[in-house]
């Protein structure tokens, strides 16, 4: 599926278009379920079983296991839903940002305090 947004490549930026919405539907649906405390507890008690219940692909399950944010985005995750998963495992948006940019969290925060990346 070719979308008009693919004609507007923006470096370092993933556009959540129709194809990604298809690829990531199960993953995002799992993360959406984390609005419930009961579901968060169920995930923590057996993460891989919870991923299988939502029919995540092998690649997505592996990315959940290795906490690979860019891998999850590449396989269709949307950051708003992934943030709910991040919350469960103790990763806030600055932890997620640090991992994606290859910085330590301190470096990432310091970069933001200087006015962010340009």
């Amino acid at each position: 599926m070719k979308t008009s947004l693919e004609n507007h490549k923006i470096p370092g930026t993933i556009i959540f278009d129709g194809q990604r919405a298809i690829d990531g539907y199960a993953l995002n649906k799992m993360c959406f379920s984390f609005n419930s405390a009961e579901n968060r507890a169920a995930f923590l008690s057996d993460p891989d079983a919870y991923c299988r219940k939502f029919n995540l692909t092998d690649k997505q399950r592996e990315a959940v296991k290795s906490r690979d944010v860019l891998g999850l985005l590449e396989s269709g995750g949307h950051i708003y839903y992934l943030a709910k998963w991040g919350g469960i495992i103790g990763l806030g948006v600055q932890d997620l940002g640090a991992q994606q940019t290859g910085m330590t969290v301190e470096e990432f925060k310091a970069m933001l305090a200087r006015g962010g990346a340009h």
Binding site: G12, I14, I15, D17, Y25, N28, N35, H78, A83, L96
Partner: protein, 296 residues
């Protein structure tokens, strides 16, 4: 008839919600930020709105990808907040105003906007953080009834800046057509520049933020020339939330003057800002709509 007293633009960063919940308003790190809302409170006490129409974006509390409306308008008597999954305290419900909501929906659909009406609608931090900043609980019970309007910023394609501005025009017309003596403030939440995802995470563009804050007052049509990809490039993948500011600005149908404006710099990952725009009268509306049609 209802009148539009003005518009407010404000960031809705979750960390601010956390600071409100923890009562950190007078902590040294936070005091300058919260103090910058005091002129907003003074203005609200002066204009005394009865209703706030709050234009925000849902981040995965009420809407999921199974049904993703481009523009959703609340039509409930009450709006609940709920657990967003990552630890923000749940705040008490907000009063709605179904008769007014339906008046807006009928008018906007008649103006060719295909609105999704919601008789149940959970409101997330995009709505609640703004409300907590504008009407802090320390000042007593919230004095306004509310209409939440959610704009899709999740699933591309997103509505263009021009489309959002036009929605705002239809919203302003709908408010003023409502046959009740109401004072209405329109709030646009979100932004300014930020990006949470991808290797460009942490992107901020202060120059563009300041340009938006200038143009939103004097020349909002200039912002409608940008496409969504333009906005993502200039203000970050999540900075596109500024389209909600454009809905707010579009609804101000009269003479608009800036009452208050403050750019804070980065809080958490996001450029934070607040603005108050007063709307004095609707005399010019027909002339402005004529110009808008030519421009768009």
């Amino acid at each position: 008839m209802a009148t539009i007293v003005g518009g407010i633009a404000t960031s809705h960063i979750p960390t601010i919600g956390k600071a409100i919940g923890k009562g950190w308003c007078n902590e040294p790190e936070w005091k300058p930020f919260f103090d910058s809302y005091k002129p907003v409170h003074a203005w609200l006490e002066k204009v005394r709105p009865d209703v706030a129409v709050v234009v925000y974006n849902d981040h995965g509390l009420n809407f999921f990808l199974n049904n993703m409306p481009t523009f959703a308008v609340g039509a409930a008597a009450r709006y609940d907040n709920s657990d967003e999954g990552w630890g923000l305290n749940v705040v008490p419900p907000f009063a709605g105003y179904p008769e007014f909501s339906w008046g807006l929906i009928e008018s906007m659909v008649a103006d060719e906007f295909d609105i999704t009406s919601c008789q149940e609608m959970l409101v997330d931090h995009g709505f609640t953080v703004a409300m907590g900043l504008l009407w802090p609980k320390e000042k007593g019970p919230c004095p306004v009834r509310t209409v939440p309007i959610s704009v899709n910023t999740v699933q591309s394609p997103l509505p263009s800046p021009a489309r959002c501005y036009k929605l705002g025009r239809a919203l302003g017309k709908a408010i003023e057509a409502f046959d009740e003596d109401l004072r209405v403030v329109v709030v646009g939440t979100g932004g300014l520049s930020h990006q949470l995802d991808g290797t460009r995470a942490g992107f901020v563009n202060k120059d563009f933020d300041l340009l938006c804050m200038e143009k939103i007052v004097t020349d909002p049509e200039a912002l409608t020339d940008y496409s969504i990809p333009d906005l993502i490039r200039l203000t970050g993948a999540q900075g596109v939330e500024v389209i909600q500011w454009l809905v707010m600005r579009g609804a101000l149908t009269g003479q608009v003057s800036k009452v208050h404006s403050r750019y804070h710099g980065v809080i958490s990952n996001t450029s934070a800002a607040v603005m108050v725009l007063e709307n004095s009268c609707a005399d010019e509306r027909h002339a402005r709509e004529h110009v808008l049609q030519e421009h768009l």
